[in-house]
Amino acid sequence: MKLPIYLDTHATTPLDPRVLDEMLPYLTQHFGNAASRNHSFGWTANEAVERAREQVAALIGADPKEIIFTSGATESDNLGIIGAARFNAKKGKHIITSKLEHKAVLDSCHALESEGFEITFLDSDPDGLVKPEQVEAAIRPDTVLCAIMMANNEIGTINPIAEIGAVCRRHNVIFHVDAVQALGRVAIDVAAMNVDLMAISAHKMYGPKGIGALYVRRGRPRIRIEPLIHGGGHERGLRSGTLPVHQIVGLGAAAKYALEALTNGENDRIKALRDRLWEGLSKNLDHLYINGSWEHRLPNNLNCSFAYVEGEALMMGIKAIACSSGSACTSASLEPSYVLRALGVDVELAHTSMRFGVGRFNTEEEIDFAIELITEKVRWLRQMSPLYELVQEGVDLKSIQWAAH
């Protein structure tokens, strides 16, 4: 077993060696520009790009013509939200999203506020889910777009996208979905789910960084967007710039294996490892709290709070495990996770939250090692924790007059 162990697949995933093998020839012998129409170098590159387009489309049940390659999901969220809002601004300037969205969505919405758009930020329920009724209640005559993520990047909760899509379609509201965390982990069908725009990234599904895609519906209704990047008119004029062929090949290959993961048992294996991690920890330690719905959750995600142990201190103790914390001390802002606060997790518990993301290449041995190490360090830090001591003495921490600083 090699240390450190990687349990942070919501941040990024390692490149699958099979994906790398498919990419390499496009960095060396097949280096052509996919836009070169008059020689074989260009034709070979273009064929590879179109094959990748089919592979990405197949993963989400789309037509290849509906896939636009971008630099990643951040660009896709910007292009989908800002592009659709600007194109349709004459119809109305109201947008609905949720407080749990990724910053790429939230900040795209905030950017539109300066163009006169009004944004409604929905709360989630305590489980971390956005309900279709909430979306419906927020829709106004001037609502043009609704952006709700498929699965949350911190707590892994899976929103009822098909139900929200039905509401949006009924009210003629464009529906943008950031699906980054869900790709290859949840079966996606943009037609059945009534999704109009979908942000896709390669590096959360064992592909390379720096490449993503935006699904833009062409069927009924046809979704029109304004480009953000202007130039040579690539990608049907929606995203100019010479196509990074090797990256696109990597995205396509990653999508192919992500689709396989839905049916070849990979997700069952990952879920079993995730469950093993949680069961091991909760058997060894008391005062653990799961953040967000356990039922509607990605198979790879565990987000839980180790009460009375601050997250950054725990991460320093478990250096042999790469994971992530919602603690303020791991952020530059000194504010704990906005996602956890939005779903109503006590700020005290947010400081003690940890996020683990299991992946394709983790083993049972690694999970067992993680359980042992985390258990040992949580016990040690609780021995050091005045809060744990007070609780053991039977003191209700809420009864103490704390001085905020």
């Binding site: 601050e310 950054e312 320093m316 303020a328 791991t330 005290e348 005045p386 905020a404 600083h405």
Partner: protein, 134 residues
């Protein structure tokens, strides 16, 4: 977060971690910070009649720099006078551990903990003096 070797060493081998009897007359306890802010420090000082800090113990809920700051102050005050302890400034702690700018508040909290523990000790002494002798 990039931390100094000294800070990491204090985190990994905290000095004087534990508790003293908070009801003892010669023990002053300072509990500062708030769980909602992500750090709480408990500092206890055992002070003899000559005003010398005979023992110091801490317990801290907080990040690595909060733990290291509290560990360091127990080392700084042990065997010293109350006057010396009262003179400890947060900048001394921050410098010693090379705290990053966003972690300066941890050293402020450690300074506050010393002051709170001494105040608690003084209050106990005053209460004892005021109490009717048996």
């Amino acid at each position: 977060m990039a931390y100094s070797d000294k800070l990491i060493e204090h985190y990994e081998n905290p000095r004087n971690m534990g508790s003293l009897d908070k009801n003892a007359e010669d023990v002053g306890t300072g509990l500062v910070g708030a769980p909602a802010c992500g750090d709480v420090m408990k500092l206890q000082l055992k002070i003899n009649d000559d005003g010398i800090i005979e023992d110091a113990k801490f317990k801290t809920f907080g990040c690595g720099s909060a733990i290291a700051s509290s560990s360091l102050v127990t080392e700084m005050v042990k065997g010293k006078s109350i006057d010396f302890a009262e003179g400890i400034k947060n900048t001394m702690i921050a410098e010693e551990l090379a705290l990053p700018p966003v972690k300066i508040h941890c050293s402020v909290l450690a300074e506050d903990a010393i002051k709170a523990a001494i105040a608690d000790y003084r209050k106990k002494q005053a209460d004892r003096a005021a109490a009717p002798s048996e």
